[in-house]
Subunit: 436 residues, 2 copies
């Protein structure tokens, strides 16, 4: 499929081609109220301004709902449901097409172009959703196996339930932040000598600070408490995807996580990319998930074999060295999941949990099978036993102060029709000095 | 201390004496907009109506903030901070005192009495807070030991971390409901034969549905992400307490919870009592927590030895039998905790997690040392091995359809000055018939 030409200048290689049209929340220095926008090439189209300037004249289905574009989050837009998300995306694609059927909407309306098309460099991105609840799954099978190996040994690396259900746990919604937000190195309880007979923890700065490369999915549809979402309906509840970095304090985690799971090790910050790529835009990139050799219960069986996405994922680490050493430390793919987001969503509701628009589901860390395909330093350094080489002769076991971690993700190879996520980035600040 | 006399008729034995003044959210048939109220005897004082009728004339500090009483949640009132909660509670106590210094506020104002004093039987209670995040701790030591015994045996009953940190996990905020909301029996994955070599789950109705008797605490103060709350400041962040029933599907839990903790087993519903008892009102009932024989790290050490509450707790089970058999199955006390709420709150923030007004912290199940003091059927029936006797010859291992569980909690013994929580109740509805 060749790229649809546009009258608007979209740079080759942009993640935000006409094939994408991701949604986010922006503000600018001259207009500080956060509102809805889409990204297109090097620009944001401010949908509040676009709607106010009558840009949606030719899309009557959105007319009763245009106030959603002036909201400070995507929650209200998402709650309109997938048919309307599709209609708005298709309409915007048509507005930007070289052969647009509605040139007066923007192509020939230079006043509205000036008001609504903002260079991304002038735009501040905000958290795209007000997140009610955040759940982190653990369905990257290779990561789960690698972690199990490190923490429990090969005999129990994968627990007996792993292939029967999408393992997940409730995360912390309040500390989900948007790309670019600094992350402070935490303090916590750490067991310095795990093999000692007498297990007494120390209070210390985290010495094993790590990232986790994940995908996040936003929910757009509420289900009633007590009423599970059938697998055949689960896609209707999924608005779109972002990149997600589940920052993790591995030394805190090792001491705290038995028996109730990770808590302080994960709740100090989770970073997501600002532009939410609609599930519609990802549809052409669907591929089969990792083959599950267990008998999957009927409520989790999908009709379509293709239910995860071929997303080229990458992690770059930039150190604080004067020379600004940057290395790509991970290359992997969104296909390395045992369960799809529809399966995670259905399982989440199977006992009756009610989801709400704006809820966030994390996939769990995504790793391929080789070390350089692993989505965390825990795996790449084998929990600190080996070092990861960075350009300029630097090396890492875990993150150092000043390190900046950037996740990127992109679908497709046609440089004029990429469907990308942009970046999800965060820099490590030194720990506070605590006087207690 | 003898009870302060009131000009208003407060029944002897009421949980809502003048010594209490708990806050909640109410509506009525004639005025369906939810708003703030306090409970006093058999009545609610509608604070939106009271404020509108100039009832707060003699409390100038609240004047700039009276709009908080017209909100549909306590979040805005809570965010005003503990000095203002204290001022409002003391003022309302003064308004109701026989020797009130401001009789014109209510005592001699029969028009405002009529507008603002509503019989509790005419009032619908709503969830008191919009809950951003809900965290469930596990600091009832006897419960933790009993569960550990059942699931892991005596050698690992308490994990090595248990006495060093308040163990907790993130819960599900969206499914927290107010007392009286029915709870539907869930379906889920269950391992019918846990001792089988080949562990293959079935999909089934929950057969081990249970309650958990807990206390919940609401947060009133935000801390910045990255900045832990010192233990000496933690009390300032605690608004007040409720009773909390953490409904639990034990068979689902046993299969799913390793390694990331409980998920579907807990996220289908958590019930709380509607009237939030201010920490101020509980102050006279402070007692020492369970002695911790471990060396507690400095960041968790409290100045005051007394940091938990002497709350007489009780669980009643009413069956669906025609005769309506009701038995008190648990009697225990809020003092059976290893860690206090200030310790839980400080630990929650130690790696930098940001709390927000309206966040809910659960204590974990509270159990004494004997079977009849245990706050769950899991413990009382030893995971189904023995039966719990109910009046009328009925018995239970776990909950049956139609069973109604009621938690009550009360401080003090002076029948004219009780500080009580009222009830936290929920009835089990039969499972849905699922066609998948
Ligand atoms: Ca994770
Ligand atoms: Ca619990
Ligand atoms: Mg996180
Ligand atoms: Mg619960
Ligand atoms: Ni007395």
């Amino acid at each position: 499929m060749s790229a649809r030409p546009s009258w608007f200048s979209i740079p080759r290689g942009s993640h935000f081609s006409l094939a994408n049209i991701p949604f986010g929340i922006i503000s600018t220095a001259s207009s500080t109220t956060p509102r809805v926008a889409v990204a297109i090439g090097d620009h944001a189209l401010d949908l509040a301004a676009f709607a106010a300037g009558n840009g949606f004249a030719a899309l009557s289905t959105i007319h009763p709902h245009q106030a959603v574009f002036s909201q400070p989050s995507l929650n209200a837009f998402a709650a309109l449901g997938r048919p309307l998300h599709s209609a708005v995306r298709s309409y915007i694609q048509a507005v930007f097409a070289a052969d647009t059927p509605c040139p007066e909407a923007l192509k020939t309306n230079s006043a509205l172009q000036k008001q609504s098309l903002l260079p991304l460099t002038d735009v501040q991105c905000h958290l795209p959703f007000k997140i009610g609840d955040y759940t982190d799954f653990f369905v990257g099978l290779n990561h789960a196996y690698n972690c199990g190996l490190i923490f429990r040994g090969p005999a129990n690396a994968l627990q007996p339930n792993y292939k029967h259900l999408p393992v997940g746990y409730h995360g912390r919604a309040s500390s989900v932040v948007v790309s670019g937000t600094p992350i402070r190195r935490p303090h916590g309880q750490i067991l310095t000598n795990p093999s000692a007979e007498n297990k007494v923890p120390t209070f210390s700065q985290c010495k094993k600070l790590d990232f986790e490369l994940e995908l996040g999915a936003f929910v757009c549809r509420a289900n009633n408490r007590g009423e599970p979402v059938p697998i055949g309906k689960a896609e209707e509840s999924l608005f779109g995807l972002v990149l997600l970095n589940d920052w993790s304090a591995r030394d805190v985690q090792a001491w705290e996580y038995v028996p109730l799971g990770p808590f302080n090790a994960k709740n100090f910050g989770t970073t997501i990319s600002p532009w939410v790529v609609l599930t519609d835009a990802l549809e052409p990139f669907k591929v089969k998930a990792i083959e599950n050799d267990a008998q999957v219960l009927p409520y989790l069986r999908e009709k379509d074999e293709k239910s995860v996405y071929d997303i080229q994922l990458q992690v770059d680490l930039k150190t604080s060295a004067q020379s600004g050493n940057t290395s790509t430390i991970t290359k992997t793919n969104g296909r390395h999941l045992l369960w799809s987001f529809p399966q995670m969503l259905t399982h989440h509701t199977i006992t009756g949990c009610n989801l709400q628009p704006g809820d966030l589901l994390g996939s769990g860390t995504i790793s391929g099978t080789s070390l350089s395909e692993c989505g965390s330093l825990l795996e790449q350094s084998e929990n600190g036993k080996t070092t990861v080489h960075i350009s300029g002769g630097e090396e890492r076991t875990f993150l150092q102060d000043g390190d900046e971690v950037t996740l990127t993700g992109v679908c497709g190879s046609d440089e004029e029709a990429l469907v990308g996520f942009g970046q999800c980035t965060g820099k490590i600040e030194p720990a506070l000095t605590l006087d207690f």
